[in-house]
């Protein structure tokens, strides 16, 4: 196919230009600031000192581990739950439309509101979850207060909030699978389960790629919910790199936080780029 003319690069221009000017140019500029001490008013070139300073952050290791754990846990959970929910919500259930709305609703509500609501819902004594559990005779854990559990509790809420988005993308993905394949599989004698694993899962791959990539990147970079719920606490137990950086930024260490952002970017890229490479190599073309 003469791709050069059928798929011309000028298609990229309109918003590519906007992206270049308003995103890429400032980003490259920012790189320079990572080599300076910068309080927004004055810059002083200090070479790589910010980077070495960043690596000396006392809770960096905790933060890095938490970042990876949080990113992995949330993106895996969102992808799996999203797919299951999408399958459920495209199967013509009673109240399907309502359920879709219900599941997407958390996406619409501000993180702040969700943070406040869930810190209350996860209150160890009067929180809805533990009250509910106590009816079942279970003594619920101290969700956000237990340093070993806090990160996972936030991850749980993050999944709760983000699964609607994953579900929506999966619903769109399921919509593009031709029913021919399901018919062929029914004729070939596939059970529901086999159809799910051998037709749906491979053919919904574009959606999976998107959901995994998006939720992994946002999981690795996320801090707003963590911030709203624990501020990285108790102590430093649920700190992630992004919240460490955010704290530096808030403290006014702009050069340092820029360096931190670049380090985080490298970490994210190290995880995501090989993954997308692998994903794209196995793309199913029609």
């Amino acid at each position: 196919m003469k791709s050069s003319r059928s798929y011309p690069y000028w298609f990229i221009l309109p918003s590519g230009l906007i992206y270049l000017v308003l995103f890429l140019v400032p980003t490259v500029t920012a790189f320079w600031f990572s080599l300076t001490q910068w309080d927004l008013f004055e810059t002083r070139f200090i070479g790589l000192e910010n980077y070495s300073q960043f690596f000396q952050e006392p809770f960096l290791i905790t933060g890095a581990v938490n970042t990876v754990v949080f990113g992995a846990v949330t993106s895996i959970a969102k992808s799996i739950l999203g797919l299951l929910l999408a399958v459920l919500l495209t199967s013509g259930l009673l109240g399907q439309s309502f359920l879709r709305t219900l599941i997407f609703f958390p996406v619409l509500v501000s993180t702040v509101g969700i943070g406040i609501a869930f810190t209350e819902i996860m209150h160890p004594a009067r929180g809805m979850i533990n009250v509910g559990l106590s009816y079942l005779g279970i003594h619920g854990p101290a969700w956000l207060i237990d340093p070993h559990l806090a990160l996972f509790s936030v991850a749980l809420v993050d999944v709760w909030k983000g699964v609607g988005l994953a579900t929506l993308i999966y619903i769109a993905g399921l919509a593009t699978i031709s029913s021919d394949y399901y018919e062929a599989a029914r004729i070939d004698g596939a059970t529901k389960l086999q159809m799910f694993f051998r037709i749906t899962v491979p053919l919904v791959r574009p959606a999976t790629v998107t959901v995994v990539t998006l939720s992994l990147i946002s999981g690795l970079r996320s801090f707003d919910l963590i911030w709203a719920m624990t501020k990285g606490g108790p102590g430093f137990s649920s700190d992630v790199l992004a919240s460490v950086i955010y704290k530096q930024y808030q403290a006014g260490f702009y050069g340092l936080s820029t360096a931190g952002n670049i380090i985080l970017f490298v970490l994210v890229a190290l995880i995501v780029v090989p993954l997308t490479y692998w994903f794209n190599r196995r793309e199913v073309d029609l």
């Binding site: 031709s178 021919d180 394949y181 018919e183 062929a184 599989a185 029914r186 004729i187 070939d188 004698g189 596939a190 059970t191 086999q194 051998r198 037709i199 491979p202 053919l203 791959r205 199913v284 073309d285 029609l286």
Partner: protein, 327 residues
Amino acid sequence: MASVKLKNIHKEFNGVKILKGIDLDVNDGEFCVFVGPSGCGKSTLLRIISGLDDASSGEIEIADKDVTHADPIDRGIAMVFQSYALYPHLTVRDNIGFGLSLAKRPKNEINERVNTAAKMLQLEALLDRKPKDLSGGQRQRVAIGRAIVRNPEVFLFDEPLSNLDAALRSKMRLELTELHAELNATMIYVTHDQIEAMTMADKIVVLNAGHVEQVGTPMELYHHPKTPFVAGFIGSPKMNLFEGQTAQEHGADIYGIRPEHLTLSTQTGKWQGVIKHIEHLGADVIVHIQVQALGTLVARADGDFAVTTGSEIYATPQQGREHFLSK
């Protein structure tokens, strides 16, 4: 092992009636061919038999069990889709072996059966390709392969050979006939190819606009079509059909004579006419003759029958080959 019985099957799509009461018995082990004009409902009927679609009303029995509401998986069928519906993410090998691997057959059994089918379909060299890298005919063969490896009780074929060349097609006819003999499975086969219909069928079902026109063996339909539609539809080139005097003399509405049952002569004959158009097919020539009293008469003659357009010619129907049909 499995007969297929259809009782008064109706089907509508958004209020349009597509099937209008189909009754049909296909016996156990029979090779039944559906023919009919494009859009008459053949595929629809196949989908209903397979269980992919529900009939709007009517009942289906397979192997004497009522399966009207059963799932495809419980009907013991395999099907070749008119649109192939190959799995785009699987190689040819996995496409063909899909049903077997669903049934959790052992690996080497799957391999063996896939290889056998691939050999028969001349797909051996392509086993590791994905469908998008195949030619049209190759895709169609994969679709056939997917159905035949499974040894079901009932096969449903929807124009399975339409994209194959004549040589391969005749080879496949043979293979499918052998498969039929070997498995003794019931086969329901949709085709537009006269030769396929005539040579493979135990029974041909002629469908027209959602109802059954006639059911019979190929030779019954060829020699004794009951309706003008069947008379015109079976046989190619199609039978010459005329209303008017000749028919009325015999108390019928329509008089018919097949092109191959007209004897042509330059000297004498029943009808005299002028040659309008000649088609050379090699083995035969098809002669279109303008006859004053009738209109156009099509006749078949030997390939070496030497005539030219515009010349005069006489055509005589062979005795006992004439058809008298009522509307």
